[in-house]
């Protein structure tokens, strides 16, 4: 396949598959209907135009994978694909990993780590909760493994939610070691569950965009509400422990202005919010550094609210 960042003006491509991220039907100034598409693969995006929608164009929708013939033209300095033939693909005709960003780490390996983290939780109610959530519910586990942790930054790729979750859990496990005041079981459980609401806040790939439910309710509420339901199915789960765990979920953004309806009031809630923030900041910096070959100052970064550069070797 020819990746979108390799297109050369003037060449023709044939039978090549891209993901159609968006599709708009427009009317030209001359009064004729045409399609304007946004094509995507894992290297980026490109505009596509279908000026004649009556010939050789199968029916398709946004988010379909499409196989096209096209000429590479130039518009405002960027390549634009003038599509002359289009077929909708079936699963199996393409490898999704070519079209959406994926974690560099092996997903099953990370899932194995998560299972080990679950095994380390000794409190029987918390252990049962985690087992029910991440292991017994195969459907949930599949979604959790494939989900991203964000639309863009940070961990905005397939497996990103799992990668972020295991890393935050590792942080919390270390924190419990250095600060014996912390209740390890509560903290580590909250770490594993803190972002499960993102499964519903963000649509599955290839969309990976905010769902309507996500926009309205947010992953903090969605996750807390989901965990609350799981707990209600566990006989004898102590009410106080439930409230403490849900508190950790609600407070994990650390401050009201970051969307937590409660500030951390327990040591574990405070520790979780710091473990989460640490992982978010480190990954954000890493992604910024990896997005460029520049070793100098990268300019003001809105996400970190400052100018940054890589440290010298």
């Amino acid at each position: 396949m020819i990746y979108l960042n390799e297109l050369r003006i003037g060449e023709n491509i044939r039978q090549t598959v891209y993901l159609c991220k968006t599709k708009q039907q427009l009317v030209s100034k001359q009064g004729k209907s045409y399609y304007s598409l946004l094509l995507q693969d894992k290297t980026g995006t490109a505009d596509g135009k279908i000026w004649d929608i009556t010939q050789g164009i199968e029916h398709f929708e946004a988010m379909d994978y499409i196989k096209i013939d096209a000429m590479v033209t130039e518009f405002q300095g960027e390549p634009q694909l003038k599509i002359t033939r289009l077929q909708k693909c079936s699963e199996g005709e393409y490898d999704p990993a070519d079209y959406i960003p994926v974690s560099k780490r092996n997903i099953e390996e990370m899932y194995g780590e998560l299972k080990g983290q679950i095994a380390s939780v000794k409190n029987k109610y918390l252990n049962e909760l985690l087992t029910n959530c991440f292991i017994n519910d195969k459907d949930f586990a599949k979604k959790f493994k494939e989900h991203s942790a964000a639309k863009n930054v940070h961990h905005g790729f397939m497996g990103g939610l799992l990668e972020h979750t295991t890393s935050v859990t590792r942080n919390c496990s270390y924190f419990a070691e250095n600060y014996p005041m912390l209740n390890r079981d509560l903290l580590v459980t909250a770490a594993m569950l803190h972002d499960v609401g993102k499964i519903w806040e963000l649509e599955n790939f290839p969309q990976n965009d905010y769902s309507d439910e996500g926009q309205l309710l947010g992953h903090i509420y969605i996750g807390a509400n989901y965990i609350s339901g799981l707990i209600d199915n566990i006989q004898g789960f102590p009410q106080k422990l439930k409230n403490e765990l849900i508190h950790c979920i609600l407070a994990h953004h650390g401050e009201l202005e970051y969307g937590s309806p409660k500030k951390p009031a327990l040591a574990e809630a405070l520790a979780l919010s710091m473990a989460d923030n640490l992982d978010a900041k480190m990954e954000t910096m890493l992604e910024l550094f990896e997005s460029t070959d520049d070793n100098g100052w990268l300019g003001f970064q809105r996400l970190l609210d400052t100018n940054i550069r890589k440290t010298s070797k």
Copy 2:
């Protein structure tokens, strides 16, 4: 009965009932155990001391109603009750309304108004939800009618939650009239439900203090979670409508820094937050004005972040 704001230094009181708000067992500098109490009736509070706990003092706990004999002494310019005899009261020996603040409005009358507001909701799912919540669940209805809307300000009295709820609902009903863009049924339903979480956030009277669950989770999450459960028991309730209603509950404080995990994203959510804020501010001012005979400037008011005075006639 002799109200606490009528005590005169030097007099003796006999067989008088007060609510024992707090009870501490302390040791005097001379090494002797004694009790320090905070007594309450609807006119205010007073300190009580039991220097000899071995004679004539029945067993009692904080939040019990107690019948006492005492001498009114003075400590640092305030009356202090030196208690010599104490019996614990049973229900029926006192009228709770003498000991805790109550709404000036008739509770059943307000409940009648609420039922009228429910009847005005035409959407069958929303109507069923409200009916199940406020009318069919007698236990809930009883609690809702007797609850306050706050520990102190505003509406921090028995019936306060009901008074605040009907007033906010009235505001929303008017808003829907003046702004036809608003979906009246959604807005009015959200108004009636917006603070139901306070039933669990604040303990019942006479405590009326934050519960452990309330401190950890807050009435916004508790309420949204409760309503979500009620909706799940209504067959065919549209998912989108559920999300919109829960959004209104989550967003009703208007800003993240006021504890809403989401800012209002729907016109109804925005309208509800303003209707709630209006009622809170008006009642806060009213309570401040009613707490004094002063017609001049009352000094800086933390709750309104400014100095205020009553308007001249």
Copy 3:
């Protein structure tokens, strides 16, 4: 007439009238003088160019109505009018309502409502003030009826000031009903007068832009100063009432950082600021929803500081 949003590339228009919003005389890179215009009608704006200013072009200025012959060409994807003939129009040759945004509501009907609101004010001094201002001063009344309430959002159209004023007054009238503590006459009077300073802060249509005085002084000071002058012509107007009314005007933005030199210190001032804010927010949302056919999420809205969407039916 052909509205600017109906222009088709390639067609010629003849003897069509537009408002010339701005006019610049420029020199081309080849050293030749030409005019660059911004044309406007109620459907929007378009660029116009007069490459040859020596032939068939009458003298005109910005804000003149002009009758033109032109060819519709394309520049950077937008239609551009290449003007070959231009005459300046006299009043009567066009209907202003075709060229500037106007309220959807009937202006005289709204003015009738305002007169009714005035009639409801029982305090004789306040009633006289309102009558002098809005009814007896014909010149003022004319300007008030035709003015907008903003350069852009919200109510940035002819009649917008009147529409906003009557709506805020309606809100205040309702508030006085639900909150008997409020002095209805003072509140409703302040509501009608709160934005009169906008008559001088914004220039008349078709400009509707900030005046020099408006930029320097702002409508809050201008309005308070104007009302103060009107009051001084009313014999016996109580000084305290004057101060309270002026306070309501000064404080109607609610917070110092929104340009009020005083925070609301009277219940009526607080209520007015909330009535004004409510109307502003509701109209802003309405205008945003009406500006698009999209029923989904509209993206981050700076004016509301959040992402929004229309509520589902």
Copy 4:
């Protein structure tokens, strides 16, 4: 006279005059009426009690000067005057300068400086405005010379408004020299007029407290409104100059959150706000240093938002 900071426990004072700052009629715990007074002279304040109000006590009000016989007792470590005889004084029986804080500088000398500053203004309209305001209006001039610039800090003493005004004008005069871009006449005029509203915002001495008008309207609006009226009586005063001058008055607090309804938009307005702030900060520090003999760290100072100390010699 015996100053209040020289009272010794146990001594008796006779026929000594103090200012009675406040007077409350209270009822003792034993049911008897008594007066509680706050006495003031320029060295500070002391409590006074009149336990028997029926014998030897003439009728008097708060803010009267009173001549008393009293015994100096001790209450909570502070001297308290037990008053047994009280006569109300007439003007002439006391020197106000003994009872209220006064500027260390000579008032007429400062007024002379102000007249010199007026004479330096060459623009005839501005010069006429200043002359009308500060020189021709004898009544205004008298009040201006005796007024303070604040209730407490800074310049909260008789002559303080004049002292502050001449100092800010001196600053502005220097600024105009170092920054030739500045319009000296406009700047210096605005400096002299910037705080005239304080004459009505604060009551005259001995009260020197916020007036009702001051609380409701503030000195910024009051002053701008007053100057606007003066200008309207000057034939031919240019409208643009008027707006620019009023803008300087409105913007002189520099930021909306400090009560200016407009931020400085002209160089002179910006310069004035900085000249005013400089004088306020320097005087605040000076007053803090003069209030103590301590040469070390004075602790956190709310007015300067930091801990401060005098510089070593």
Copy 5:
């Protein structure tokens, strides 16, 4: 010895040693000189008075250890020592650990850990810097081991600076493991050095109060300046590495408003600021929990900006 929290009203103490934290010479209302002292041991503080300073009272100063005879009286509910005899102690007559708060951990053990952390730094310049600072400079090492990390919270006890430093270094060591992007040597070195400026910002025990230099310059500047000097004595230390290390010191408070003159711009600076914040927050919570036997809600905590409670077991 009798600890201050064990004093009983009415008893006499003899030949007991306390630290005299402050000493004031005052004049009684009756005109007689006396001393007012603040006495301290590790259990708290108590007031002391020497009414007769002429008999049996040796010369002493604040911060001396004094051996006293006294009677325990009561003042405003607290014990007060009426001192009748006083001798100044020499070193050896008391154990400082009885008078000032000390770390619960063994200081030499922590210092051993620090040496191990230094040994783990492979970069020869950084290793030399750390060795010169913490090991070769015996005088510095002694001060570093005995210093606190704060006047009050957190780690406001002898050995607190060392305890905080080793814990933050442990955090950073873990961070470098979980986030391979981090330059371990730079990060761990910065961790050990980040608070060395506190040695001069806070006076040695028993004072442990801000020094004049500390108030004026702060530990961030003092530390950076000190490290800069040390580096200049190391031949060949790379300039870029020096700048990066100093940057980490300057930025370790994370935000300008917390006193860092630069925001973290390197990954290691960001990581250090989070490791420091984590340790500060955890220790603050621990100290709050240890200061009370209460297992319930502790009320609003200014240092954490929220109400907190211990987690249930």
Copy 6:
């Protein structure tokens, strides 16, 4: 020479020298290497392209002065230089003043003023410090005279640091006169030294961009550290005076959020921060006014956080 703001589309320029501010080697869509340059002279900047890098193009780097032949073409409405011949210039072939912004004031004249200001400092230690810094160290003096005070605004031109420094010192000198509390020697010394760190924070012209050291450490720390070193070479310089002077440097931005690690705690530190702020604001306004011929409102200015206009004459 032909200045960049005088280029006309279509003409050819020959043997003209510009400063090459930036140079990028790019690859065209057709796969061919070319250079994209940013050319600069004192009138502004222009794009340059070298499509054929193999013919007539000498080796050069960014920040070289280059002599070119080129054709003036148009790209997106702006002139673009199509370069066909390029030679690198040696010093002497051009006058730097044609290529970089320079102060309008004479540098030696300003330096003379600075020497006069030094002479006015009577304290012998401070005088010696200033003499060592600005007069005896010729190398430093040369750099100080040629440096700017900013990358862009304000005083972002050659000599700008000197111009700003003398003006701030003049302000401080005046302040010391109007506020006798101020220690003139300390204040005026701090004024002269306050921005010396900028010599290392910004690279020399023609770059005038932030250095790596500047980004990491900032001119406040760099300057304080430098002055500290100078003082350590002066025998007998009092430690307290050193701390006070360094404090003034550290605190001269006035607020933590503006990058000062300490708030002004001495009167001189506060005065310096205000003198600096005044000069910055006045120069910013002046530069904005001088950058346009427009006498009307200039629109929102981010640097002043408001819309501004020139005052009418």
